[in-house]
């Protein structure tokens, strides 16, 4: 019918104009019916006339205006909880950056509710843009952030269960707001610190928890960001925006050193131990980055003073301080070989320092152990000799440690000597002092193979060649001062080193055949003090013969004679009839 008629309504008629009000009211009435329909409640806005749809003239255009005006006064939109209908102007659309990954709002709705249900499609909500539907303002959303932070244990931001993705999204939002809101954001207490507090940088300067990837000790009075939060890239960008900075390495080191400027009071030993270890680790790891300040006030790190009190590493290496100096309680009082050994009173660095040592950082050429040794004067080395006295004329003697080993752990003496003998150090000592030291050392009684203790100087290394020669004359049951070599030293390498050492000190080997025979003779005599044995007699005569031959062919007869004469008297065998 539309083409047939060219007539249109008369638009200037007062009645027609007034009819528009009735039409607008009926339209609103229809919408109020739609909001109770199960699907139309989310779609009715498609019927709303839009200015852009059609070239409305003034008459019909005014109908749009009337509809728009009357629509403001009624409640036509459902809240997200589906519990209430509210007017358009009371509701807010959320931007994408206010939503989480499931497109739910980052923060819960407030009261009165403003969020729209997801059943409203974006296209349908767009139809309400010209009818007063607004998006949530940045300032309104920031209010929600502030509200959440004030909720204490109910805060989403502060909850440990909140996902990383959630935090990323909130951080993105905060970074992207226009500058006019920067001040508000910077005063939010939204930075999580080590220790659980939440602060804004306005309260204190805040620093990142690591410097050059090394964790900063948390007890230096610095406000540090919780490292787990830093791992999140967006949150890190947010923290940058909030003026969190990375502290200087040298400043941190200074703070650590300052802590030890005065001696510690030790009420809580365990805690101090742990923190001191943390501090030392940090100093070690960053030493190569701050070489000018690579030192440690070692006095205050332990209860002993570095120069005068010896502190050793406490590892269990053989012939280390721990091995040698610890006290041993005898298990079985009957056993001869074991008895109570009092320890030597030395200090050891607490084992906790050495447990799981920090790995050597790139750019640092000292190991943890080396650095500790250098910084805190921890001893790795047990001296065999010690000096006493003035700078100019020091006197040398065997060290206390050496005396301790000699007295209480003589079985370890050889190993001890082998471990700590330094050719270069020995050479520095002048000849007279050296001879004195050697004499001292040679007097130390060490265990021989059969258990007897014998002065070191008079012992012999149990080298096969010598042993064979001796066996011609000496029974195995008879005593000969063969040195007892500990199992750990009984290998070719150690034995050859022992030989070198023995040569230096002049023990363990026969200086001449004559001496050797004399010694053999003496030992036979000692072992057979009261017995009469024909076999022995033959050996003795043989020995006499050998000795005589040596004398006869000796280059220096005088010396030879003196040697025989000064041999212990019991070498003269008296045949008893």
């Amino acid at each position: 019918m539309t083409e047939a008629s060219r007539q249109d309504i008369s638009k200037s008629s007062a009645r027609n104009i007034r009819l528009l009000d009735g039409i607008a009211e009926t339209f609103i009435k229809a919408i109020l019916q739609f909001v109770h329909h199960s699907t139309l409640r989310y779609q009715w806005m498609r019927y709303l006339p839009q200015t852009s749809d059609y070239p409305w003239d003034i008459y019909w255009g005014s109908l749009l205006e009337k509809i728009r005006y009357k629509l403001q006064e009624v409640s036509v939109l459902w809240t997200r909880s589906h519990n209430h209908l509210r007017p358009i102007k009371a509701m807010r659309r959320l931007n994408n950056n206010m939503l989480d990954e499931k497109e739910d709002p980052l923060f819960p709705d407030s009261s009165p509710e403003r969020y729209l249900p997801a059943e409203y499609s974006a296209a349908d909500l767009n139809n309400l843009n010209n009818y007063g539907l607004e998006n949530m303002q940045v300032s309104e959303f920031l209010d929600k952030v502030g509200l959440d932070l004030d909720k204490g244990s109910h805060s989403i931001i502060k909850a440990s269960t909140t996902s990383d993705d959630w935090h990323s999204r909130l951080a993105e939002f905060l970074i992207s707001v226009p500058q006019s809101h920067s001040i508000t954001i910077k005063s939010l207490g939204i930075i999580p610190l080590v220790g659980g507090e939440w602060k804004s940088f306005r309260d204190h300067p805040i620093y990142y928890s690591h410097v050059k990837e090394h964790p900063i000790p948390t007890d230096l009075g610095l406000k540090l960001v919780d490292p787990r939060a830093e791992k999140n890239l967006q949150r890190k960008r947010l923290f940058d925006f909030l003026s969190v900075k990375t502290q200087d390495i040298s400043k941190v080191r200074r703070l650590i050193l300052d802590k030890y400027a005065i001696p510690l009071f030790h009420n809580d030993f365990d805690r101090i131990l742990t923190t001191s270890r943390n501090h030392l680790v940090f100093l070690y790891l960053t030493a190569h980055l701050d070489m000018a300040n690579d030192w440690v006030e070692s006095d205050c790190y332990r209860y002993r003073r570095p120069y005068t009190d010896l502190v050793y590493f406490s590892d269990n290496k053989p012939y280390g301080a721990h091995d040698l100096f610890q006290a041993i309680e005898s298990i079985d009082h009957n056993k001869e070989s074991q008895k109570n050994v009092p320890g030597l009173d030395v200090s050891f660095i607490h084992p906790q320092y050495m447990e799981t040592p920090p790995s050597q950082p790139k750019g640092e050429n000292r190991s943890w152990r080396t650095w500790l040794r250098d910084m805190l004067y921890i001893r790795d080395f047990i001296p065999i000799f010690a000096t006493r006295g003035g700078i100019y004329v020091p006197t040398y003697h065997l060290s206390d440690q050496c005396h301790y080993v000699a007295e209480h752990r003589p079985e370890k003496l050889l190993g001890f000597l082998l471990e700590y003998w330094k050719e270069s150090e020995y050479e520095k000592i002048d000849k007279t002092a050296r001879e004195k030291l050697t004499r001292e050392l040679m007097q130390v009684k060490v265990p021989c193979e059969n258990g007897t203790k014998y002065p070191l100087g008079k012992t012999y290394l149990p080298i096969d060649e010598h042993k064979q020669r001796a066996r011609r004359f000496i029974e195995d049951t008879e005593f000969f001062p063969w040195l007892l070599i500990e199992a750990s030293l009984n290998n070719d390498a150690s034995l050859s080193r022992l030989q070198v050492l023995a040569t230096k000190f002049g023990f363990g080997y026969p200086k001449s055949d004559l001496e050797f025979y004399l010694e053999i003779l003496r030992c036979i005599r000692l072992s057979n003090f009261r017995t009469f044995n024909l076999k022995n007699e033959i050996k003795i005569y043989e020995l006499y013969g050998l000795i005589e031959v040596h004398y006869r062919y000796a280059a220096d007869k005088d010396r030879c004679r003196r040697q025989i004469e000064y041999a212990p008297p019991s070498t003269i065998f008296i045949h008893k009839f």
């Binding site: 047939a4 008629s5 309504i9 008629s13 009735g22 009211e25 009926t26 339209f27 779609q43 409305w56």
Partner: protein, 315 residues
């Protein structure tokens, strides 16, 4: 017999030939304006049926039937017994009489009444308001049916005929939306040999699950095949208040004192698909009749005023 004023007839016939050819809608409106209390009481849908033959058109409804007051009204130019200021189309007293644009004789049969009016071109116009009794013995009527048979002018131009036929074809089920009573419209078209060509039913019913929603159905039977179309609308009725008087019509003293003109009905029909999803397309504006598409996606019907043009037209 009644004594009409002669001068009025001329202006009447003048007016007749000046208005547009929308007489099918006027027939519909007339049909809707009747009362259907008997049909409603027996739960029958009020209907109107058009049978369009070569030279005649037969209109039937199941209205309550003519009575004396109806007769007086139909014979009078200015007065009307129908519902009054509201719901009156074809102001200026034309209404039913516009059928004489296409017909020379209108035979009305209803209950015990059986009479006709006659007006040929050049006639004074008296025939339009002078009923002549028609003997109905051969022409038996079914019960409770009112029938109007329009005998078309021989001289009706091909163009006019085309226009008329087109008006029937352009009936849409949406016309039912704004009817007060009618629920069904039947249109049967016959060819020149009076054989049935198409039979179309337009019907409207309310959904039981949602009383705001009506289903409109169009069923077309053609060449033995049946086509069906459905449309669905959510209907909301409202009232416009505080209206001033219409310039285009005269009100009775009674209507003026009751201030009946102050209110007008507004009906909005929102198109939905079968799943109750909104259908968004420009829809018609109706003021009792469809006027034009105005860009709303809602069908709108209310009493809007037409300018009454005084153009001359020779018909």
């Amino acid at each position: 017999m009644l004594n009409p004023d002669k001068t009025k007839f001329f202006s009447l016939s003048q007016n007749l030939y000046n208005s547009s050819a929308r007489f099918v809608f006027e027939l519909l409106q007339n049909a809707d304006d009747n009362s259907y209390s008997r049909a409603k009481a027996s739960s029958t849908d009020p209907y109107v049926s058009f049978r369009v033959y070569n030279r005649r058109i037969v209109v039937e409804t199941n209205e309550d039937g003519f009575n004396y007051e109806n007769l007086v009204a139909i014979c009078n130019i200015d007065k009307s017994s129908k519902s009054g200021a509201q719901g009156y189309i074809g102001e200026k007293g034309i209404g039913f009489k516009s059928v004489f644009m296409v017909a020379w004789k209108a035979l009305i049969q209803s209950g015990d009444f059986s009479f006709y009016f006659q007006h040929k071109k050049g006639d004074t116009g008296m025939g339009m308001i002078t009923p002549i009794w028609h003997d109905a013995e051969n022409d038996l009527m079914p019960n409770h049916v009112t029938r109007v048979t329009l005998f078309l002018h021989d001289s009706i131009s091909a163009d006019n005929m085309k226009t008329t036929l087109r008006q029937f074809q352009e009936i849409e089920s949406t016309f039912l939306l704004f009817m007060k009573n009618l629920k069904k419209v039947y249109v049967t078209m016959y060819d020149e040999n009076d054989e049935q060509r198409t039979f179309t039913t337009y019907s409207m019913s309310r959904q039981s699950s949602n009383l705001h929603v009506v289903d409109l159905k169009t069923e077309i039977l053609k060449n033995g095949a049946l086509e069906e179309y459905s449309k669905h609308y959510h209907l909301t009725r409202g009232i416009a208040n505080d209206l001033s008087m219409s310039e285009n019509r005269k009100y009775t003293k009674d209507e003026i004192s009751r201030k009946a003109y102050q209110m007008a009905e507004v009906v909005l029909a929102f198109p939905l698909d079968a799943k109750s999803i909104p259908i968004i397309q420009p829809q018609d504006l109706f003021a009792f009749l469809p006027i034009r598409k105005i860009g709303f996606s809602v069908e709108l019907h209310t009493e809007l005023l037409f300018p009454y043009s005084a153009n001359k037209c020779s018909c």
